[in-house]
């Protein structure tokens, strides 16, 4: 019905994550973490797992938090869960595994959606995200915590300088509010 009050059409449908992940789950559920491509392939035959693994490794190398000493890193991710990089200059959490998801609507991939840039994340509508070990057991994703230091990547670019306040306010896994 034509109405001045109501949008004529709202043509929005989104990514739903594949059986690996969030689809059909309650808000509090976590996506399934795969520790290997083989474990992933048991659920998802085909190339999706290879693509997601590769994409996750790439993302991990590019975006995993960097710490100036091993202790600070292990405090976040647990003993033995960090590795030295760049000739021992920095320490990064090990990639414990990855999560896999699928874009329902492939067109969305190209427009910079959250898991944007499908090329980098495996293409074909699948994406992968690296996960780390958590210090208290289980897994965690790369969230910056309050008090963690800003770290510098090569090329003279610092990252991780936004997000600490959001973490403190409880926005991580909670609510941004407003």
């Amino acid at each position: 019905m034509a109405s001045r009050r109501r949008s004529a059409y709202v043509g929005f449908s989104v990514l739903t994550l594949s059986a690996a992940g969030l689809a059909g789950c309650g808000g509090g559920d976590q996506p399934k973490v795969y520790n290997s491509v083989a474990a992933c392939k048991a659920d998802h035959p085909g190339h999706a797992c290879d693509d997601a693994w590769q994409a996750s490794v790439g993302e991990h190398d590019k975006t995993a938090p960097r710490y100036t000493n091993e202790q600070a890193c292990e405090a976040q991710y647990g003993p033995g869960h960090c590795e030295a990089r760049e000739g021992g200059q920095v320490f990064m959490p090990l990639m414990a595994g990855f999560i896999l998801g699928q874009m329902l609507n492939n067109n969305r991939c190209n427009t910079g959606a959250p898991y944007g840039n499908c090329g980098g994340y495996g293409g074909g509508g699948y994406f992968g995200h690296p996960v780390f070990y958590a210090s208290g057991g289980g897994y965690r994703t790369p969230a910056i915590n309050p008090g963690e230091s800003v770290f510098t990547r090569s090329g003279g670019v610092s990252r991780g300088g936004f997000g600490a306040t959001a973490g403190f306010r409880g926005a991580l896994g909670g609510f941004r509010g407003g």
């Binding site: 929005f12 969230a143 990252r159």
Partner: protein, 388 residues
């Protein structure tokens, strides 16, 4: 008057709302956040009044923000000199810029409509209101009507932004990640931008880079971020380690953010006090004060942190006795006191009306319900219908 009508949920409602982007439909305790076991039915005359209230209130807010800035009263809103300079500058330069969105939380008891809060910077429940309830109506009441052209208006605002900003300027979008709700909202905003012909690129908040030397903010490909849609309150960004650089870069117009910095003021509950002071006769404004002594004279009142969100640190006082106090992370903030008013209520459900304004035009409604009198982050989103 508005009625709350129960009806059976769609058997596969979870899948249906997920398809429309709402993956956070269930609270951590397993109870539904998206609650289609009922809907609110408003008459067209009621919607007319809600629409008029939201339009009026938005204009009053613009005047109040301008007043606070021109009278140099921003320090009393809790801002430091850096932030004040940023707000003043963004206000002076606002010019052609569309303001994208804001949500007023209104109390309505069948007669009076009163402003409870304003959320001008990072309003939540956008996907629920603009998309999910639109599709719910489409399926439940084909041919029915709803106060909801939020999507159309957002696309139009983004189109206007594109025309003014120049086609070459892509838009980066950012939020805390991983975060189901915020990433889902960004996903929707990216789709709306796409529809408006704006090229977008997502970057997680923690991934935003700051280049040494010239302090350019860059994405993961080290490309400059020139325009940034942020689903993070300004105050949080400015308090972060990169906050000072952001203030300098925004001040130098080397980066522009949506919403603009002055929208902070339109999210600050201190503005409720300013509004009442400037427009004492507005039928939409409740008494509000910063003085505990004045508030005691109200009898029943609500104490709120000026920067609070989702009901955190809100205290409800009735006849001088504290009825309910919510904990939260906003204890360090300034507080205001607002005279208490009645909410729409049915079968123990207290409903707050979220009236959406996009680029200065009231264009939609989203109802949130709580069992208790304080609307918090567990408040359920309940769809609505506009009937004859």
């Amino acid at each position: 008057m508005a009625q709350r009508i129960t009806l059976p949920v769609r058997p596969d409602w979870r899948r249906k709302v997920e398809e429309r982007g709402l993956t956070w439909h269930t609270a951590a305790d397993g109870s539904p956040y998206w609650d289609e076991s009922a809907y609110w039915l408003f008459s067209e005359a009621e919607i007319d009044r809600i629409e008029a209230a939201a339009n009026d209130l938005y204009e009053l807010c613009l005047k109040a923000v301008g007043h606070v800035i021109e009278q140099r009263r921003l320090a009393s809103f809790g801002y430091n000199p850096t932030t004040i300079a940023l707000i003043e500058q963004s206000w002076a330069r606002r010019g052609w810029q569309p303001t994208f969105y804001a949500r007023f939380d209104l109390a309505y008891d069948g007669e009076a409509i009163k402003l409870l809060e304003l959320n001008g910077d990072t309003p939540t429940s956008l996907v629920e209101a603009a998309v999910v309830q639109w599709w719910w109506l489409e399926e439940r009441f084909p041919g029915g009507d709803q106060f909801n052209s939020i999507h159309e208006k957002l696309v139009a605002a983004l189109r206007l932004w594109r025309q003014n900003a120049g086609a070459a300027r892509g838009l980066h979008l950012t939020c805390v990640a991983p975060h189901l709700e915020d990433e889902g909202t960004i996903e929707y905003l990216a789709a709306a931008a796409d529809e408006a012909g704006v090229e977008t690129q997502f970057i997680a908040l923690g991934d935003i880079g700051l280049r040494d030397g010239d302090e350019t903010f860059v994405d993961l490909d080290d490309q400059p971020i020139v325009s940034l849609f942020k689903l993070v309150p300004w105050e949080w960004l400015l308090a972060d380690p990169f906050g000072q650089a952001l203030a300098r870069q925004a001040g130098a117009e080397r980066i522009s953010l949506i919403e603009p910095a002055w929208k902070m003021v339109a999210s600050n509950k201190m503005l409720l006090v300013t509004l009442k002071e400037l427009f004492p006769d507005s039928p939409y404004l409740l008494d509000a004060t910063t003085s505990a002594r004045v508030a005691a004279g109200y009898g029943d009142y609500v104490r709120k942190p000026v920067l609070g969100r989702e009901g955190a640190n809100v205290t409800l006082v009735e006849a001088g006795r504290t009825l309910e106090a919510r904990p939260g992370a906003y204890d360090d903030d300034l507080f205001i006191y607002q005279r208490r008013t009645r909410l729409l209520e049915a079968a123990g459900n207290h409903a707050v009306l979220g009236a959406w304004v996009v680029n200065r035009e009231a264009c939609g409604l989203g109802v949130r319900e709580s069992k208790g009198p304080i609307t918090d982050n567990l408040a359920r989103f309940v769809p609505h219908v506009m009937g004859g």
